[in-house]
């Protein structure tokens, strides 16, 4: 039998390991002055996705620099962390708490109802009840982006470049492009819908290969999803998959082909393969929300960031600017103007009506 002393030692070691693991698991990086407190809870993609979560964090860091706000974050390891993380940030005295990602919708609604005195920013969150009827809460700003618009711009680039097979050694003559997606959620599908619609508008014969990896934090899966696309003749693959998408860039590098980044300008990740990025101005949206709350101008409800208010767009082409034909650049500007004016409205749903 185990002696009492041994079992106590074992118990202590296990408890210590658990505590250390849990404590550092919830890396909480408070910094900066003693001012207005704002914080974010990441979704399971976490910081370091070089896109979605990092974009919101960049906005908070800007709020720290420009507004002297005191900012921090909590990492969600799994979906069951959402409510505890949001609650803890609320109890820590943060005036504005950001819930990052559609998957946090229900958690955000629950915590916001319980804490009416704290402001919440739900990024990609559109509150809706069981019957999908939208509703608003007085202390929640639902920060939404017109991903179909920047997805459309990415689609224009992909389609036009795949047709100009001689512009770069990475391009071929096959009329195929790809898209590696994360989970099937509304914001991801808006990107996809816009992308496919744009590709088909350029040439209906171009095939769009589409794969959902069902994860946002598995780069290996992203790579394995992209490889068969490149093998099938795709020379450009758009990734809408958070950290999973980092693997798409690896595949592009191995196969000597292009990838398109998402959410923020991802060029720095692998400059030699990232043609362009479809961007959401997460930084501006986050910063603006903190500022509004500080100035007493916080308004709840849906806030849509689109081409009209510089909320979405396309990054620069960096080193590839010289291979982009002027006609494509003109087409991008025209599409931007049309979408801003509302005369061009790309689809927002991936379903049967979207001919692929």
């Amino acid at each position: 039998m185990m002696s009492r002393r041994t079992s106590m030692v074992v118990g202590l070691i296990v408890a210590a390991l658990l505590l250390v693991g849990l404590a550092v698991g919830c890396g909480d990086d408070s910094s900066g002055g003693d001012g207005y407190k704002a914080a974010m809870a990441t979704d399971v993609g976490k910081l370091g996705d070089k896109s979605f979560n990092d974009g919101v964090w960049a906005g908070l860091e800007q709020a720290q620099t420009d507004l002297k706000a005191e900012v921090s974050y909590l990492v969600s390891e799994q979906q069951t962390d959402y409510v505890p993380n949001l609650t803890r940030l609320t109890e820590d005295g943060n005036k504005v708490v950001f819930a990052v990602g559609f998957l946090m919708t229900d958690a955000l609604a629950e915590v916001a109802r319980a804490n009416p005195d704290t402001f919440y920013g739900g990024v990609d969150v559109d509150l809706a009840d069981e019957t999908f009827t939208p509703y608003d809460l007085p202390n929640v700003r639902e920060i939404l982006f017109a991903e179909q618009q920047c997805g459309y711009l990415a689609g224009l680039v992909a389609a036009n470049m795949t047709l100009t097979g001689d512009a770069h050694e990475f391009l071929n003559d096959d009329k195929v492009v790809g898209l590696v997606a994360g989970m099937k959620i509304p914001s991801v599908d808006r990107y996809i819908a816009g992308y496919i619609e744009a590709v088909k508008s350029v040439d209906p014969d171009i095939k769009v290969l589409l794969t959902y990896t069902d994860t946002f934090d598995d780069p290996s899966a992203g790579k394995e999803a992209a490889i068969p696309m490149y093998d099938a003749g795709a020379d450009i693959v758009f990734q809408v998959a958070g950290k999973t998408g980092l693997g798409v860039f690896e595949a592009a590098k191995d196969k000597g082909a292009f990838a398109i980044g998402v959410d923020v300008d991802q060029s720095a990740e692998l400059p030699e393969v990232i043609l362009v990025s479809a961007t959401k101005n997460l930084q501006k949206a986050t910063m603006q929300t903190v500022k509004d709350a500080m100035d007493g101008n916080f308004t709840a409800g849906n806030w849509v960031f689109d081409l009209k208010n510089d909320g979405v767009g396309l990054s620069s082409f960096h080193d590839f600017d010289s291979i982009i034909p002027q006609t494509l650049k003109d087409a991008i500007e025209k599409a931007k103007a049309d979408m801003a004016a509302g005369t061009l409205e790309p689809a927002t749903l991936v379903d049967d009506t979207l001919v692929n």
Binding site: T6, V10, T215, E224, I227, P228
Partner: protein
């Protein structure tokens, strides 16, 4: 939807060597960890810490490769090998913790393993932040490119499937066959199995139960670390937080599915890899993605229910041994 068309596409996928090449790539981390699990559990120590060991291996691999290139002045082709060495060493050190808790202190092996998994997740995430100053993922590090084997890689079909891979993928094949030999055809293998089946009997004939169990745990640490290095130095070229994403648990299942044998672990990992590879290739057909995403699970259930006989675990598995 035209059923004939779907059939044709599926047939094309099944005929395409790249489907099987991907199967081998995807199955490698699973296979290595599963074989490690087989060695460990054959000596009677349950190892649900495989997930944590892999994570430590993935992190250490990237870390050592990074420092080898950037601080120690080694070349881009040598650095990943230092990474592999680091991953294996750190995997063994980390699994030694499991040994101390499970073998030495006779704690509940499942509880120790679970604690180690949580610890690994937190510690690697924290160290990424602390050492590289960025949360969530390390910078890109020097990594392995595929090394096609001369002549063999030119064989039609089999060449690309088997002989055009990164180093750890080859190692996995060798380790599967070599491991099977060691565990079932050598004196040390016999001792390991004896300790897992009937530790008291092994003890009475002079086999050190503790030493053999530590050996089993350390082997799982080395192979788990190697599995992690495959993720961070071959599959992609960086560590990102929680990048194993449950592969350690799938490996645990593959080990059981393979009846606690190295070869069986490898084969069942190949099955998981095949299902995954198929999943990623069949999505381009116009089938509902929900249908395709469940494919690996359905395949697993069908095989588990149909093809596999009863799995008999080592007799003394999970039971701490004490001389008294």
């Amino acid at each position: 939807m035209d059923l004939g068309h779907v059939f044709q596409v599926v047939l094309d996928i099944l005929r395409d060597p790249s489907t099987y090449q991907a199967m081998l790539r995807i199955s490698t981390p699973l296979a290595l960890a599963a074989i490690g699990g087989a060695f460990c559990e054959r000596t009677g120590v349950v190892n649900i810490a495989l997930e944590g060991i892999m994570l430590v291996g993935a992190f250490s691999g990237a870390l050592f490769s990074y420092y080898a290139l950037n601080s120690w002045g080694l070349s881009e082709s040598v650095a990943p090998w230092i990474g592999v060495l680091g991953a294996v060493t750190m995997g063994m050190l980390f699994s030694a913790l499991h040994g101390v808790g499970s073998v030495h202190l006779r704690a509940d092996q499942v509880v120790v393993g679970a604690a180690l998994n949580i610890f690994a997740l937190g510690a690697t995430g924290f160290l990424t932040q602390a050492l590289f100053g960025v949360a969530g993922a390390t910078p890109r590090v020097a990594s392995f490119d595929p090394i096609p084997i001369p002549l063999l890689s030119k064989i039609p079909f089999l060449g690309p499937v088997l002989f055009d891979h990164t180093p750890i993928v080859y190692m996995a094949i060798v380790i599967a066959i070599g491991g099977q030999y060691v565990l079932f055809r050598t004196p040390i293998g016999l001792r390991m199995r004896a300790v897992g089946e009937h530790p008291k009997a092994a003890d009475t004939v002079g086999v050190s139960v503790y030493r053999i169990r530590y050996l089993g745990v350390l082997i799982s640490g080395a192979l788990g670390g190697l599995a992690g290095a495959n993720l961070s130095l071959e599959s992609v070229s960086q560590f990102s937080e929680n990048m194993t994403r449950g592969r350690g648990f799938i490996a645990l299942a593959a080990n059981i599915f393979g009846k606690w044998t190295p070869l069986g672990s490898w084969l069942s990992s190949l099955l998981f890899g095949f299902a995954e590879s198929l999943k990623l290739r069949t999505q381009v057909i116009d089938l509902p993605p929900e249908f395709i995403l469940m494919l690996p699970y359905v395949l697993t259930i069908v095989v588990l229910a149909g093809a596999m006989g009863r799995a008999v675990p080592p007799n003394a598995i999970g039971k701490p041994y004490s001389k008294q």
